[in-house]
C-alpha cells in the first residue's frame, strides 16, 4: 500500500515562517575612549594644507645677575626663547559598499528583514572610525600596528605569529587589509593581505593573524602596517608612543628630540608594577609639574594602560573593594574587585583599554592633548545617491555596487610634553610568550 502523502511536518515547510535572532550589536572590541579624549573633547584647530604650528615658549628671557651703576657697565640681556612644532592632518577613510538589491531588500521593513543592513552599515561606520583611530593612536607616527614575531619561520607560513608586546594582534581586526614592511627601519614593502582571522584571547596566546595570502618575503621582525601608508617613509597620524616619549633622538613635530622640553618624563621599570615604580615615576612627574601644581586635585590627569597591568596591581593587593560615601551607591562585596567602578592609582583615574600596550602605563594630561583637523570632518564624502553613495563603474558598463567613504583628517599632539609621562618596560611574564 502506498504511503499516505503530506503527513509529515517537512511536507508543510513551504508555509513555515523563518525565525531569526537579530545580529549582536558588534562582536568585536570597540574600545575608543582614548581616541575620544584626544579627538572629541576640548577645542580643536581647523587647519588647511598650510602647517598647524604648535608654539612653545621654553625660556622667559632676561639675564639675571648683580650689577653696579656707579661707573660699571650694564650687563647684556637675553630674549625669550621659542620653538614651534608643526603638524598637518592625516587623511583617513573608512570605505563601505553595498549593492542595489541589498538596499532594496533592506528597506522592505520588519516583516521582511530583521535589520536594514545598509542603514546599519552606515551607522556602524561612525562607531568603527573612532575604534580604528583608537587602535592607530597606540602606535608611533608610521601606521605600524603589529610586529611579526621573532619566532616566525617565514617562507609563506600562515598564520603569522606576532610579537606579544606591546600589542600582539589586538590592533588588527578580521577583514582589515594590512601591509607588511621590513622592520629594519627602511620600511621596504613586502605586499598587502586581507586578514582572515585575528584571535585575541589572551596575552601570550593567540597573538597571530591568518591572512588570505602571505606576501612574498615576509620574515620575522617585519612590521604590520595600516593599509595604504607609503612605503620607505610611511607617515600616519601621531600615536601616543610618539607623543609621550623620553627619546632623545629623532624628532617631535619637526623639533629635535634632544631638546629637553620635548622629552616626556619616563621611567624604565624593567620589572613588575610595584609601589616603588609608581612612587619613583610620580616623583618624576612631580618635579616636572611643580610641587604645588602636582598636589592639586585636578580632573585633567589620568593613567592609561592595559587591563593586564590592572590584574597585576590587584593581585599584589594594591586595590580594595570600593568604599563609597553615604550619599553614593552601596558598596559591593562580592569577593572580586568591581571592574566597573573607577580604577585609580594614587587617587588619579586609571583608564583601562584592552588595546593599550601591555608593557606601558601612561600618565596623561588631558589639557595638553591637542589636535588639528580639516573642516567638516569626520563626515561621509558627499555622494550622488542619497547624499553619500557613489555609483561604481564597471568598465564601460554600470555596476550594481554602490560605494561610500567616511572621511576624517586628524593629527594629535601634546603641547606640553612635561605634563604627560610613561612607565615603560613593565614586565608581563615570560609565560605569556609561550
Amino acid at each position: 500500500m502506498a504511503a499516505p502523502n503530506f503527513t509529515t511536518a517537512s511536507a508543510d515547510s513551504v508555509i513555515m515562517l523563518q525565525t531569526y535572532t537579530p545580529p549582536k550589536e558588534v562582536i568585536e572590541n570597540m574600545e575608543s575612549e582614548l581616541d575620544r579624549r584626544f579627538s572629541t573633547m576640548g577645542p580643536q584647530t581647523i587647519t588647511s594644507l598650510q602647517e598647524f604650528r604648535v608654539m612653545l615658549q621654553y625660556e622667559y628671557g632676561g639675564s639675571f645677575g648683580a650689577g653696579s651703576t656707579d661707573g660699571g657697565n650694564y650687563p647684556t640681556g637675553t630674549g625669550g626663547a621659542y620653538n614651534e612644532g608643526i603638524m598637518t592632518p592625516v587623511e583617513i577613510l573608512l570605505a563601505i559598499t553595498c549593492t542595489d538589491l541589498q538596499k532594496r531588500i533592506g528597506s522592505s521593513g520588519k516583516t521582511v528583514i530583521a535589520v536594514n543592513p545598509v542603514d546599519k552599515l552606515v551607522a556602524d561606520a561612525h562607531t568603527k572610525m573612532p575604534k580604528k583611530r583608537n587602535q592607530s593612536l597606540q602606535g608611533f607616527n608610521t601606521g605600524q600596528i603589529a610586529t611579526v614575531s621573532a619566532t616566525y619561520a617565514g617562507g609563506g607560513a600562515n598564520p603569522i605569529a606576532l610579537a606579544t608586546t606591546p600589542f600582539g594582534s589586538r590592533l588588527i581586526d578580521i577583514q582589515d587589509t594590512v601591509q607588511f614592511m621590513s622592520g629594519d627601519g627602511n620600511f621596504t614593502l613586502r605586499g598587502s593581505a586581507v586578514v582572515v582571522d585575528a584571535p585575541k584571547n589572551g596575552i601570550g596566546t593567540g597573538n597571530q593573524i591568518t591572512v588570505d595570502n602571505v606576501p612574498a618575503g615576509v620574515v620575522a621582525g617585519d612590521y604590520v602596517m595600516v593599509n595604504n601608508v607609503a612605503s620607505l617613509s610611511p607617515l600616519f597620524f601621531n600615536g601616543i608612543q610618539y607623543i609621550v616619549s623620553p627619546n632623545t633622538t629623532g624628532e617631535y613635530l619637526g623639533m629635535d628630540r634632544s631638546l629637553s622640553y620635548v622629552q616626556s618624563p619616563a621611567y624604565n621599570a624593567n620589572s613588575l608594577l610595584t609601589l616603588g615604580i609608581v612612587e619613583t615615576f610620580l616623583t618624576r612627574m612631580q618635579q616636572a609639574l611643580g610641587n604645588t601644581t602636582y598636589n592639586r586635585d585636578r580632573p585633567k590627569n589620568f593613567w592609561y594602560g592595559h587591563n593586564a597591568q590592572r590584574a597585576s596591581w590587584n593581585q599584589l593587593g594594591f586595590a580594595i573593594q570600593q568604599v563609597t560615601m553615604p550619599t553614593g551607591k552601596a558598596p559591593k562585596f562580592d569577593g572580586v574587585p568591581d571592574t566597573f567602578t573607577m580604577e585609580m592609582i594614587a587617587g588619579v583615574e586609571w583608564l583601562l583599554d584592552t588595546v593599550a600596550a601591555v608593557d606601558k602605563l601612561y600618565f596623561m594630561d588631558r589639557a595638553s592633548m591637542i589636535r588639528c583637523r580639516f573642516n567638516d570632518a569626520p563626515q561621509f564624502v558627499p555622494g550622488q545617491i542619497e547624499g553619500i553613495w557613489f555609483q561604481r563603474p564597471s568598465g564601460s558598463n554600470t555596476s550594481s555596487f554602490k560605494d561610500a567613504w567616511l572621511y576624517d583628517a586628524v593629527n594629535y599632539a601634546s603641547r606640553n610634553n612635561w605634563t604627560s609621562g610613561v612607565i615603560y618596560g613593565l614586565t608581563i611574564q615570560s609565560s605569556f610568550s609561550n
Binding site: P22, I203, S271, L275, T280, V323, P326, P331, G335, E343
Partner: protein, 231 residues
C-alpha cells in the same frame, strides 16, 4: 614635624587599629589620613608656583571638559632634598601598610636619579615597608562610614591575593585569567542576549503546556468561544 595622622580623629585611628591590627613593626596596618599629609623625602629640582596658579582653567560641559590656558611663571626653583606630598590629590584616604617587598628592589629604588643625572632622587629605601592608598580607598571629601571601611578591610585581609608580596607566577596567572574572563564575559553577554531573544519569540501560550489547571482553563475558554481548532 611630619605626622600623617595629625588631622585624623583619634577615634578613627583607634577603631582601625582594633579592626586591622598591627604590622611586624608595631604600627597599625590600616590608617585614614588626609592625602596631603602623606609627605615623603625626595631630592632634585623643584619648581614652585603660588596657590591658585593654574595654567589651565576647566569648565565642565556635559560629559565634556573645556579649558582655557594662560602663560604662568614659577615663583621659585629650588634644588635639594625636601619633604613633598606623595599623592597628586587631596582629601581623606584609606592607606594600608605594605612590606618592603612591595616596593621592589633596593637597588632599583636607589638607582633612580634626579634631573641632574647624579642626585639620588628617592630618599631612603622604605626598608620597614610603607603606607600606600589602594585603588578604591579614596580620596573622599569626608571620612566615610567606618562600618563600610571595616567591611572593606575585612574583604582585603581575607582575599586570596598576595597582600603586597611578590609571586611572579601568581601574578602571571592573574593577568592571563583577567584577559580570559573578559573574553568569557563578552561571550556570556552574547549568550544571554540570544536567550532573551529566543524567549521573546516563544508563544505566550507555551507556559500552559504541561499545566493541567491552565490547560483545562484554556480548553473551557476555547469551547465557550466555539473555536474548534487547537489553540
Amino acid at each position: 614635624m611630619n605626622n600623617p595622622l595629625q588631622d585624623t580623629p583619634a577615634e578613627v585611628t583607634d577603631k582601625l587599629l582594633r579592626w586591622g591590627g598591627k604590622n611586624e613593626h608595631g604600627d597599625p596596618n590600616w590608617r585614614i589620613i588626609l592625602a596631603e599629609n602623606h609627605l615623603v623625602q625626595r631630592a632634585g629640582m623643584w619648581t614652585e608656583f603660588a596657590d591658585e596658579t593654574e595654567q589651565v582653567q576647566f569648565e565642565t560641559v556635559g560629559k565634556d571638559v573645556r579649558y582655557t590656558t594662560r602663560q604662568i611663571a614659577p615663583d621659585a626653583i629650588r634644588i635639594g632634598m625636601f619633604w613633598v606630598p606623595l599623592y597628586p590629590c587631596q582629601g581623606w584616604i584609606l592607606e594600608r601598610w605594605f612590606p618592603a617587598s612591595a616596593y621592589g628592589s633596593r637597588q632599583q629604588w636607589e638607582s633612580a636619579l634626579s634631573q641632574d643625572g647624579v642626585t639620588p632622587m628617592m630618599g631612603p629605601f622604605p626598608e620597614k615597608g610603607g603606607y600606600f592608598m589602594p585603588s578604591g580607598g579614596g580620596p573622599w571629601p569626608q571620612i566615610p562610614l567606618l562600618e563600610d571601611v571595616r567591611a572593606s578591610i575585612a574583604a582585603w585581609e581575607n582575599a586570596p591575593h598576595l597582600h603586597g608580596t611578590i609571586d611572579e607566577a601568581a601574578i602571571a596567572r592573574a593577568m592571563q585569567r583577567d584577559i580570559e574572563e573578559a573574553d568569557a564575559k563578552e561571550e556570556a553577554q552574547y549568550e544571554a542576549f540570544l536567550k532573551e531573544v529566543t524567549y521573546q519569540r516563544l508563544s505566550h501560550l507555551e507556559s500552559i503546556k504541561g499545566n493541567p489547571a491552565l490547560s483545562g482553563f484554556r480548553n473551557r475558554l476555547v469551547n465557550a468561544q466555539g473555536l474548534m481548532s487547537h489553540t
